[in-house]
């Protein structure tokens, strides 16, 4: 349905749009980010520097970006999808060539005033493109192999570039997010069953072949996978951090040690305590109540997004809202599972809480799309 088909009288105009924002989501995002400020203040040893001040500034900027984007009709964003995707793809290639290298991976572009991660931008533009694609594609063709190949290419190109940076965490997010949109768009479930079955089969085959004459990988590669899956095998390396993270988290108990009283994080036991491992500090200081509370806040954000998506008659709007929700969900669930020792450590930050400019801004842009979709719902 083209936007011209909408009845203009049903869509709010001007500043009236502000009244139609998805306010619960705005409040929830602010609450979660507030949690983040508290934690950054704590891990800095009770100081606004070096993390809280820039984080608050970026949040303010992000909030402004989100509201501004919400004011722009959602059909504009749909028309921007292809351009945005191509731009992100070009930037990813640029990173590969002129990017800045840090800690052995090349992910950043130096923009003078800030470092920019094109892979973060790709998270949104990929979802936008796929949503626009399925908005355009008649439902009858959705499950035709040819029409499945196209979105697969859309996903594969950035996934390959990001994986070669190397950034496994973002790659997983891209592929899962893209897959989720395809699933929501109504691609026949048999395709998903085949892919999941195939992956399980392949992994099983690779591991079953271990120790036999026809083993697929080299021995040291198997050993690396072993330590990746079970870091306790490397008690002085990766396992040390996971052990310390679990102690910090578990020792929080019901109510935690109290704000700024966490010993584990204070004594520098934890790595990346202001980024990927910030949840352990939160769980140590605020206990189960704090950690579970954060989980509930996240879940509520998802619920409000799903509710908005389901009640939205515009297909692009629905898909983009669900896509953002799924990506957001993957962010926090992978991070939490990682620090609780349920998943291997793959460098995914805790959304809105972990310190980081690009991630914060990108999330706010994503929620800007969700808000725009909500405001410009056909009523």
């Amino acid at each position: 349905m083209s936007y011209l088909a909408y009845q203009f009288k049903d869509v709010p105009v001007g500043f009236r749009k502000l009244l139609y924002l998805n306010w619960p989501v705005v409040f929830l995002i602010t609450a979660v980010s507030g949690f983040g400020f508290l934690m950054l203040y704590s891990v800095a040893g009770g100081s606004m520097n070096p993390w809280v001040t820039p984080q608050v500034q970026r949040f303010g900027l992000g909030l402004a970006v989100m509201v501004s984007m919400a004011m722009v009709p959602i059909w504009f964003w749909r028309n921007m999808a292809v351009v945005g995707y191509l731009l992100a793809l070009v930037l990813l290639v640029a990173v590969d060539i002129i990017g800045v290298e840090r800690n052995g991976s090349q992910r950043w572009l130096d923009l003078r005033f800030m470092d920019f991660q094109p892979s973060e931008m790709m998270k949104i533009t990929l979802i936008m493109l796929l949503a626009a694609y399925y908005d355009w594609l008649p439902l009858s063709k959705v499950s035709k192999p040819v029409w499945i190949l196209v979105p697969l290419l859309f996903i594969a190109a950035p996934a390959y570039l990001v994986l070669s940076q190397p950034d496994l965490g973002t790659t997983i997010l891209l592929v899962s997010g893209g897959g989720a949109i395809m699933f929501l768009a109504g691609v026949h479930w048999a395709y998903f069953a085949t892919v999941i079955g195939g992956v399980i089969g392949l992994v099983t085959a690779v591991f079953q072949s271990r120790g036999t004459a026809w083993q697929v990988l080299k021995d040291y590669q198997y050993r690396r996978i072993d330590t990746f899956l079970d870091p306790t095998q490397d008690p002085l390396g990766a396992g040390y951090h996971i052990t310390q993270a679990k102690i910090a988290l578990g020792s929080g108990g019901w109510t935690g040690r109290g704000y700024m009283q966490g010993t584990q994080s204070r004594l520098n036991f934890l790595p990346e305590k202001h980024t990927d491992f910030i949840f352990t500090t939160l769980a140590e200081e605020f206990g189960f109540i704090g950690a579970f509370g954060l989980l509930i806040l996240y879940a509520l954000i998802i619920i409000f997004c799903v509710q908005s998506a389901v009640t939205n008659k515009d297909r692009f709007a629905s898909l983009i809202t669900m896509g953002v929700a799924v990506t957001f969900f993957l962010f926090f669930s992978v991070n939490m599972a990682m620090v609780m020792g349920l998943a291997p450590v793959v460098g995914v930050p805790l959304p809105l809480v972990s310190y980081g400019g690009s991630a914060m801004l990108v999330l706010m842009v994503a929620f800007g799309l969700v808000q725009s979709a909500h405001v410009h719902k056909p009523r």
Binding site: F183, S251, A283, A291
Partner: protein, 654 residues
Amino acid sequence: MKKGPKETEEGARRLSRRAMLLGSAQAAIVATLGARMASMQVEQADTFRMLAEENRINIGLIPPARGLVYDINGVVLADNEQHYSITMTREGAGNVDEVLARLDRIIALEPERLEKAREELKARSPFVPVTVAERISWEDVARVTVNAPALPGVVAELGRSRIYPQGSDMAHVVGYVGPVSDYDLSQIDDQDPLLQIPRFQIGKTMVENRLERELRGTAGTKRVEVNAAGRVMRELDRVEGIPGADVQLTVDARLQNYIQARLDGESAAAVVIDVTNGDVVGIGSAPSYDPNVFVTGISTTLWNELNERDVETRLHRRPLAAKTVQGTYPPGSTFKMVTALAALEDGQIEADDTVRCVGHTDVFDVRFHCWRRSGHGNMNLNESLKQSCDVYYYDIAQRVGIDKIAAMGRKLGLGERHELPMSAIRSGLMPDKAWKREERGEDWRIGDTVNASIGQGYVSTSPLQLAVMTARIATGRAVKPRLVRSIDGIEEPSGAGESLGLNENNLRRIRAAMYDVSNHSRGTAYRTRIAAQEYRMAGKTGTSQVRRITADERARGVTRNSDLPWNRRDHALFVSFAPADNPKYAVAVVVEHGGGGSTAAAPIARDVMLQALYGGTPPLSAYPSASRGAIQAQQRRLEPLLREIRPGRDTDEA
């Protein structure tokens, strides 16, 4: 593309359905995360709280106990001694400098160590304990323990260190361990994490070094809880390492002790081989040093002293060199058996053929002298060996040719690197025509053969090789020296060896001549014979020149050894086996610059042989009556140098 309203509706319905499906899956995952949180923070909270609140987990390596080294009777040659050391971790200490300063006030630390520790603390991971002080007294341990609250991260640890109870006796055999150095790490390709432990002890030389893999063992790991003060509260779990394998040597510590005592004051080497199985039961080198000083790190002064760095006071006695395998000397007359055997085997001579010795032989225009200028007269094999006539060997060597002599020398173990677990073993040299052409680019000359026939010129041998040669002559078998009897209780193959394939008649003639050397009144070693009937000894003296006597010196008449400076005097050698009729031991002795073989080396060889045969101090009746008085005086003199050695832990299963 145009879509009908029907299709749009169907798309929306399907999307809603799938959204709900995806939503439920997400809800399930959120529930899992929540459950995990609850299990960790509510159910297991106490466990984690305990770990975190008072205690923290440290993961460390447990160095395995290094394997012990025993002698043939189970006497401990290298032991592990327990001692206390003070270690410290960066994460435990917090403020490293302050804690170190406090520690320094409580127990005085060596400034050098303090500086080193400070560097190490900075460089290593926060949880790696760094040794601040070693081998500290019990009082200091108590002082540190009492002051524990003021010394976070500081722990008194029970450690193990190597100790060599036999002191300098075994230094040239067992060697020593020392803290692993960066140089060591760059030299060895070894991924063992143990080597990353600061000051971990590894074998530096000799058996300790050559059997490092066997002796070291495998590291274990332990996870310990330490409290906020850094004190170890308890061990969580522990995977024991595998202790290093015990090694039993063939050396007899008591005999070794006697050898070192007997060689004391000389620069000499003595090797005793059990000819029945190749066991090296004694392998002494003098002067020696105390290996214990190397274990914790040696002072520069002592190191320079041992290396004779000071040119002024240098004695050229090389205490750090194991002369038994690292020293090579011209074998002198002890080589004559090789020349004779080569000639006999080649059929060039019969034992009764005689050569007339007039005191010299002329080869073209060069005159080669016999040691007795007046000549020996008519010499057959027996007489020539007995009286060590040189001219006889000049003559027969020219008939056989150097290549056959060299082949015989090699057959008897000369010029060969006998693989014992000792460091820097030298192979000596058994020259032949091909060697000279290759190495020197010159043709072999007859004069070279003449020189080689009496073990001079290019020929050079180590005391070990001479002992092997004697053992092979005594048995006719390819006796192979063996220093390690068993590793971890598993016996090493015997060195008895196969038959050399030599004519037994020829060997018998050589042995008979060697018997006469020591037991015939005209023999060069008659005065140092063994009188005990059942232990009669066969031997051969050797005196090898280290310099040419210049024409000028000859004119001035300086040919007596005692008139020369020590380091230009002749080497004294003696090889022997006994009992002559049923050989048990072969002994080779080299006394550097000792003068004559019969006066300097033979008495030592005889005394060592008797010690080995009697398994202790022999009765005076074993000595010829003429020398008993002197021997008694000598025994009294050596008594304070001999230690009482009793077998410790017996590893011999059989």
